[in-house]
Symmetry: C2
Subunit: 337 residues, 2 copies
């Protein structure tokens, strides 16, 4: 049993996307894993530039590209007709077609037929592998860190990637483990954990971070929040299956309500630490909180410093904005006795 | 959006089942909902008797039976060839075919074709309704009680049915809400909650117990345990979506390890109460624990009394074996100020 796996190098399809906010996945791949990206494919009227070489399908095939990754979200979530020829050409050239769109590309006959002829795979990264097991609860070798949130969309993926980067900078043997679509495209493998049937959520998390060297760290992208009225089940299953040695709390400094659920307030940072650590103890009694990552982008510089200092004093933990400060202090704290 | 719904009256197919332990579902239906059962269909060599009238398919059709319910688990989990003719006849007669077997009856051409001709439905109670929503977290009208467990297989379904029966005896307006296969067959509707994709677990629980009269009680069958390394995600999603006003703890007196997970111990009753109540507060701050149901079948009578008295003293809650004592004391405690 393996997580989803994508073949690099990628050609990232940008198409005619005009609004950069629809290209967050493409930017994320190019920013975090430039080594996996051979180029981008933009149409004449594109207004987005990922900062990687422009390539046609033919040039990409020549360069050994193995996957066409749909790295943008077209308006409406389905494939514009004008993109179809490009996708079919890539499939004909034997490239895997990787997509997280609501439109299932394998249901479009032209794409399906082209892939069948060339032997290319059509990979929907929203679909988990089949045959996932119930979690065993067996303690695995190696170390694990899981980012957890006070809410959705507070930077759990970004923080995990930044912590992984800081570990790499510190010559620590580490792997980023993706649990959502963008993370899976960035890292080239992972588990779309929120699409797994509830009975297998923890089992899927176990598959995602298997036994490893004793000093190896898996840095696992969190999902949802234990304090979210809709998504806490996934968060708990991921927490139990991940068996984290360390959790890192992620928060948005100006979030006053659970986004989209205005009757619910995010927890305090100490409450979020306490609940995550106490529930994580079921599968790893040695778990502890290693730090706090805050998105402070909506604060002024002065406010920012005070905000982070207050949380650091309150929790006695390193507290950073990962975009501004990086995560080296959090990583260092993992190795303090 | 509706839970699964089954049409009564039922003809319960027993077939040639010899071992009563394979007929637990059939016995459960006949015990808890005799009003839903018209009869049983047994082959000549059957060694199981549900205590309801024997009927052929023709007699059942004549009597207005609307569903053939496969109320036993054949050895191996698939349909013996000798059962096929009976199932096809029932489908031809227009009866819905209701099954929770691993074999999907709709994939057997003879059954599928017979049902297509007569307009009967083939209902797999392991498959949740499609299009389930993410939970809204909105507070619903009416009252709700959820049974929760120290482990799997500690009597959460039985306790919920017994509490519902005690409410009915006390002339309380109440509905049993099933979350597992046997419960769904017994009550004729429900939600196979552990088969729902994690993101929608709480949403499915919200659909299962919709707004109701202010003095109406939904008695919801719990699943898994917050202390189970494999199934806690489902338990938490069900807890949050149910928004219970009351939880009742279910336990097996002689359980010393999580069944099948020998590295894990069940929690103490107070720990189980504390964790369930503290997590349930997210969606219903008024939640409390209303009692404890213990399976004491493996204790001697003297031990039993002492065991229950000790828990009652420790928790200051009614503590019963629902099979022996019934649940009237727990129901009464719901209405004490």
């Amino acid at each position: 049993m393996e997580p989803l796996t994508l073949q690099a190098p990628y050609l990232v399809l940008v198409g005619d996307t005009e609004d950069p906010t629809y290209a967050k996945t493409g930017y994320g791949i190019a920013h975090w894993r430039p080594d996996r990206v051979a180029g981008q494919l933009r149409f004449d009227n594109a207004n987005v530039d990922l900062g990687v070489p422009d390539m046609t399908v033919a040039q990409a095939a020549e360069a050994g590209v193995r996957s066409l990754v749909i790295g943008v979200a077209p308006v409406g979530g389905s494939i514009p007709d004008s993109w179809l020829g490009t996708i079919v050409s890539a499939a004909e050239a034997g490239m895997d077609i990787v997509s997280g769109l609501h439109t299932r590309l394998g249901e479009i006959a032209q794409i399906r037929n082209a892939a069948a002829v060339s032997g290319a795979n059509i990979i929907d990264i929203r679909i988990p592998p089949s045959g996932l097991p119930v979690a065993t609860g067996r303690k695995r070798s190696g170390k694990r860190l899981l980012t957890v949130g006070t809410d959705c969309a507070v930077g759990k993926k970004y923080s995990a990637l930044a912590i992984h980067a800081a570990m790499r900078d510190a010559a620590i043997n580490a792997t980023f483990r993706a649990t959502g679509q963008t993370g899976i495209m960035i890292s080239g493998s992972g588990m779309p954990i929120d699409a797994v049937v509830g009975d297998f959520t923890s089992g899927a998390a176990e598959i995602l971070s298997p036994d490893n060297d004793p000093d190896h760290w898996d840095v696992i992208e969190g999902q949802g929040s234990l304090f979210h009225p809709g998504y806490a089940a996934v968060s708990l299953g991921l927490l139990h299956g991940s068996q984290p040695d360390a959790v890192v709390i992620c928060h948005d400094a100006t979030r006053t309500e659970i986004a989209g659920w205005p009757d619910y307030a995010p927890p305090s940072i100490p409450d979020c630490i306490e609940r995550n650590v106490s529930l994580a103890r079921l599968t790893n009694p040695a778990v502890r909180c290693a730090g706090v990552c805050v998105n402070t982008s909506s604060l002024q510089s002065e406010e920012r410093d005070e905000y982070l200092a207050t949380i650091a004093a309150e929790t006695e933990l390193p507290c950073v904005d990962p975009v501004i400060d990086g995560c080296s202090t959090i990583v260092a704290s993992l190795f303090q006795v």
